[in-house]
Subunit: 234 residues, 2 copies
């Protein structure tokens, strides 16, 4: 593999919350035998059901975690951005399998690390485990949030997802969803059909709540989307 790519990756990794308090030596240990893998749009990193003998730290781009339902449709479980860890949770099990498909959204890079390293160096590092639990906790929180929204109307679900994925951009209070997110992916995340998502979002585009830039979604008026969520109250 490319050693210089790895060295570069170690520098990138230092920026992430996960490794904030780590020394350079510690980081090198934690990433032993790591390799940087570059993926193109839609390329598969881990396949659900495969033996999980390595895990990943997202360096750049984004990944979607999904499972295929009985009709062959995708159900998207989670979006991972830089700094997120992939597949770590299942590694302590004996002969673990990946529970989900992990697929790149746009060109992406990930640091792939063998399972042994996790068992030996990650699990034994309390500071790191605290951070890992933090990541898992926020992922769990998103699952819970979706569960709470399940009975809300479709518009509230879409609004909720966009606000969750959006981050601050520009001087105003506008938000921007930085993922290259398709309507289909939005639909698969909240468990509805593409058509329904399109109908809602076209409406919002028309009245100026949101705007479609080049492969990113601008939330022009977040307050209106929040309103959309609260309209579901009885």
């Amino acid at each position: 593999m490319n050693t210089s790519a790895l060295t570069g990756a170690l520098h990138e990794i230092k920026q992430f919350q996960l490794f904030r308090e780590m020394t350079k030596d510690q980081i090198e240990l934690l990433c032993s035998d790591g390799t940087v893998k570059v993926l193109r749009h839609r390329e598969l990193l881990f396949k659900a059901g495969d033996e999980a003998n390595s895990f990943g730290v997202v360096l750049s781009g984004a990944f979607k975690l999904s499972r295929t339902d009985l009709n062959g449709e995708d159900a998207i479980i989670h979006f991972s951005s830089p700094g997120d860890i992939l597949a770590a949770l299942v590694l302590p099990q004996q002969s673990p399998k990946y529970p989900v498909n992990v697929r790149a959204m746009g060109p992406s890079r990930v640091l792939v690390i063998p399972r042994d390293v996790y068992l030996k160096f990650w699990l034994t590092n309390p500071t790191l485990m605290a951070s890992v639990q933090g990541l898992l906790s926020s992922r769990m929180a998103k699952h819970q949030h979706l569960r709470v929204m399940q009975r809300a109307p479709l518009s509230a679900k879409v609004a909720s997802l966009l606000l969750q994925l959006g981050s601050k951009a520009g001087g105003s209070n506008e938000l921007e969803v930085s993922l290259p997110l398709t309507r289909k992916e939005i639909a698969d995340s909240i468990g509805v059909t593409v058509e329904s998502v399109i109908r809602i979002m076209s409406e919002w585009s028309k009245v100026g709540y949101i705007k479609n830039s080049e492969n990113s979604i601008q939330i022009v008026d977040p307050a209106k989307l929040v309103e959309e969520i609260h309209q579901s109250e009885s």
Copy 2:
């Protein structure tokens, strides 16, 4: 607090997967300053939003983890049975809050342990952390499963939940749901209305797929419920 209750609890705990490989001394350390709390049906253990300064290990009975949605309705996140840990995931955060309400289902007992003990003794024990991640992993798997089922018809969702909660009973291939589960709780778990759940389950009772014993549900014919799930394939 009652010391003899605690001593008894330490024996119970030894049976759980979580502490299988621990020595008696280790267990005592991990449960330092723990107190056994006895709760009645519907009694609240942790309240969502409260400061999380302790966590719990379920000893007997069962607990439901839920959040209240915008309409004041409950959304049930998870059912915890003996051996499960409660609220551990959020403890590493600075000034953590309980993310959910934790409420007893029927008379229940739980070992409540201070947060410090988790930070000091749990996080620093790799073997234990591996087990904890195992529990979290299975909880995450259930969330994912529900997500996959989201587009399936209501009957498939109910069938899926019952099969998930059921455990082997009797000599035949019958299953039994040991929780004192109400129709409303089933509805709140899968995000539908009570009435819909009742309509489905009455139907199943009539044709003999399931049976209502005293505060427990018998799955007489699991195969038929599995069939119910697969009918949703297109």
